[in-house]
């Protein structure tokens, strides 16, 4: 049997087991649950977009679609080539279970979910996938899905020092730009790059307003709506997302109300729909997630592209500065810088405590937990680490921990 034949049979088996019959209904039921909690009418746009995406309608686009993982892949370069970027990071338990057929059990659930989606033929309409060498599992992921999809492997190294690496990054990004131009028969240049940067900068501007509003008034946009907006940005046309998000912001301004719940900084592995367990429990435990440091939200949107020199190479350097030097992934950001970022955020936004959220088997986050705990303890910053996975069976246990954390924070306030 040829390798291709073997893979086709394998995929058929996996697909029979779970894909179209199970994923969408599960996720749409979850989506409806959070939609009912929303108090902002224009959030409907995002819920509807996700529902369409889960039903696989969104991929029927006129433009070719390019999937990617991690912030170090520059969306702006994809946009400049008139392609549709789709962020593929996912935390879907049904897909992760299916993905275990390909990636073994003791591998991060994001990788397993992705394998499940690819082998379950949910990404058939993608024209290309860009995979960065951010962490070891992603490096191997490129090999796992390369029989199914055309892959571009982007490896700018794991050192976030700009002065040391600027030339390498510029070279890697330029190679990617050249590859996309050739592959999709496009001929963009400086103008298209600037236009793409304007789009993502507009998104940053809106996100910052929302971020600031939530740090001041966490209930203005509930935590589920916040992460729903973020998830929708994975696949929506950026200008449409900007329009919808602006409307949400305007309506949220009217919902400003002070509340007395302990204000939390959620740091760590990303929260991606449908895996809202941590924020669900956080909410039920009487805590308010005022802000976050995660790669899918703060890490993705907060920094704008700052162009000092508007030549093609100057723009590409600015993209590398934003995406790689500004990365908050522990693969690139060292422990001292991560600790300082947490301390500064807690002080700046007057937060009561830090929840360090660790999805099991994301080793780069897990490995620094004990030292971060000690550093923050020396600064009298209350800290709790939560290690969990995509399953819901530990919800009661997590609730006890987070309620106890809330009681502790409330007693500190007194």
């Amino acid at each position: 049997m040829t390798q291709k034949k073997f893979l086709d049979n394998f995929r058929d088996e996996i697909q029979k087991g779970f894909v179209s019959d199970r994923i969408s209904p599960n996720n749409i039921a979850e989506l409806q649950k959070y939609k009912r909690k929303s108090e902002i009418p224009s959030m409907e746009n995002f819920y509807e977009a996700i529902e369409n995406f889960e039903n696989k309608k969104t991929f029927e686009l006129e433009k070719p679609s390019v999937g990617y993982f991690c912030n170090i892949v520059p969306e702006e370069i994809i946009l400049a080539c008139d392609l549709h970027p789709v962020r593929l990071c996912c935390e879907d338990q049904v897909c992760a279970q299916a993905g275990e057929e390909i990636a073994p059990g003791d591998i991060c659930c994001v990788i397993k979910s992705i394998c499940g989606k690819f082998y379950g033929r949910l990404y058939e309409n993608l024209n290309l996938v860009i995979i960065p060498g951010t962490c070891d599992p992603k490096t191997k992921l490129a090999e796992l899905i390369s029989p199914l999809k055309e892959i571009y492997f982007l490896d700018p190294g794991r050192d976030s020092d700009y002065l040391e690496n600027a030339a390498i990054w510029e070279s890697r990004y330029t190679e990617l730009f050249d590859f996309l131009k050739k592959r999709f028969h496009k001929n963009p240049g400086r103008t298209q790059l600037i236009s793409a940067c304007h789009k993502t900068n507009k998104r940053t501007e809106i996100f910052r307003k929302i971020y600031q509003l939530r740090t001041d008034y966490p209930d203005s946009i509930n935590v589920f709506d916040y992460y729903i907006m973020i998830y929708a940005s994975f696949f929506m046309e950026i200008e449409l997302w900007n329009d919808f998000a602006e409307k949400v912001y305007s309506q949220a301004l009217e919902k400003k109300k002070t509340q007395n719940k302990p204000r939390i900084l959620l740091v760590g592995t990303p929260v991606i729909f449908p895996n809202f367990k941590i924020i669900d429990v956080l909410e039920q435990s009487g805590l308010a997630m005022a802000t976050d440091i995660q790669c899918t939200s703060f890490g993705r949107f907060f920094n704008p592209v700052e162009i000092d020199e508007d030549t093609e190479s100057g723009i590409i350097r600015a993209l590398a500065l934003k995406n790689i030097a500004g990365s908050i992934c522990p693969c690139l950001l060292n422990l001292e810088k991560m600790a300082n970022l947490i301390i500064d955020t807690v002080n700046q936004y007057n937060l009561d405590g830090v929840i360090y959220y660790n999805l099991r088997l994301c080793q780069v986050f897990e490995i620094q937990t004990a030292i971060l705990r000690q550093i923050l303890k020396q600064r009298n910053i209350p800290f709790i680490s939560i290690k969990t996975d995509l399953g819901k069976e530990d919800t009661g246990q997590l609730k006890t921990r987070l309620e106890a954390f809330r009681e502790m924070l409330e007693s500190h306030r007194k």
Partner: protein, 251 residues
């Protein structure tokens, strides 16, 4: 008078206090209908105290079933309840609390005001909990107290490599098949738990007294095993299994 009810994953405990003095305490297995059990043991405690339900000023529930008990006036987590009680029972001094329960093991640092400064709990797996020992005791054809007694007669404790309940069970079965003495296996199991607890303790200040509560404190030899591995003296609080319920009652 006030009542504290600790609805744990394995046992449900009730304590009635007058001021801070315990006037009645009752206990029962939680079972599949924990709310009913909680009501029953509350009634039994009222009977033992010789008082009527209407004489209770306040009922505070804690433990995993704290939210399902509809007769309560307030809920408090077992972390706060254990801290509150341990501080009071330690003469209102800072302390480090070890609480080994059925479903989880906690270490809690309590400051000089009696407030929780920091705490650690095991994650979702049963490693390091009373439930782990209960499962291993079944393999050794005894209960957890019998397991502790066996451990006291060990001559050469084995090293149990896994605290994962599933793998540890296989390891114990394998050791029995190789004619290892049950006493040595039991001591190995206690040491495995004790090592995990000692690791948790190492995250906290080392200059405060250590107190031990929860059903796990009643297991013969566990305290000594933790003392040996951590190098710290540990004091078992009076009626350790009722400490959390007492903490709820005085919260």
């Amino acid at each position: 008078m006030k009542a504290g009810i600790d609805i744990g994953s394995v046992m449900t405990k009730c304590v009635i206090v007058e001021g801070n003095r315990v006037i009645a305490k009752t206990i029962s297995r939680s079972g599949p209908m924990p709310e009913k059990i909680a009501e029953n043991i509350l009634q039994q405690a009222l009977k033992n105290a010789g008082i009527e339900f209407s004489q209770l000023e306040k009922i505070v529930s804690t433990g995993y079933g704290r939210h399902i008990f509809s007769l309560n006036h307030k809920t408090v987590t077992e972390v706060s309840a254990a801290a509150k009680a341990s501080f009071y029972l330690s003469g209102e001094k800072p302390c480090l609390v070890i609480d080994v329960g059925g479903q989880d093991t906690k270490t809690i640092e309590v400051d000089r005001r009696g407030e929780v400064v920091d705490f650690l709990m095991n994650d979702k797996c049963a490693a390091g909990t009373g439930r782990f020992l209960e499962m291993m005791a079944t393999v050794l054809e005894t209960d957890i107290y019998g397991l502790g007694k066996l451990a006291l007669s060990a001559t050469k404790p084995v090293v149990i490599n896994s605290t994962c309940s599933v793998f540890a069970e296989s390891e114990v079965v394998s050791l029995l098949a190789h004619n290892e003495r049950k006493e040595n296996i039991a001591a190995g199991l206690l040491n495995a738990i004790a090592a995990r607890i000692a690791t948790m303790m190492s995250h906290f200040h080392k200059d405060v007294p250590v107190v031990f509560c929860g059903g796990g404190a009643n297991i013969p030899g566990l305290k000594e095993s933790i003392e040996k591995i951590s190098g710290r003296q540990i004091h078992i609080l009076e009626n350790p299994q009722f400490v959390v319920a007492f903490g709820a009652a005085i919260s």
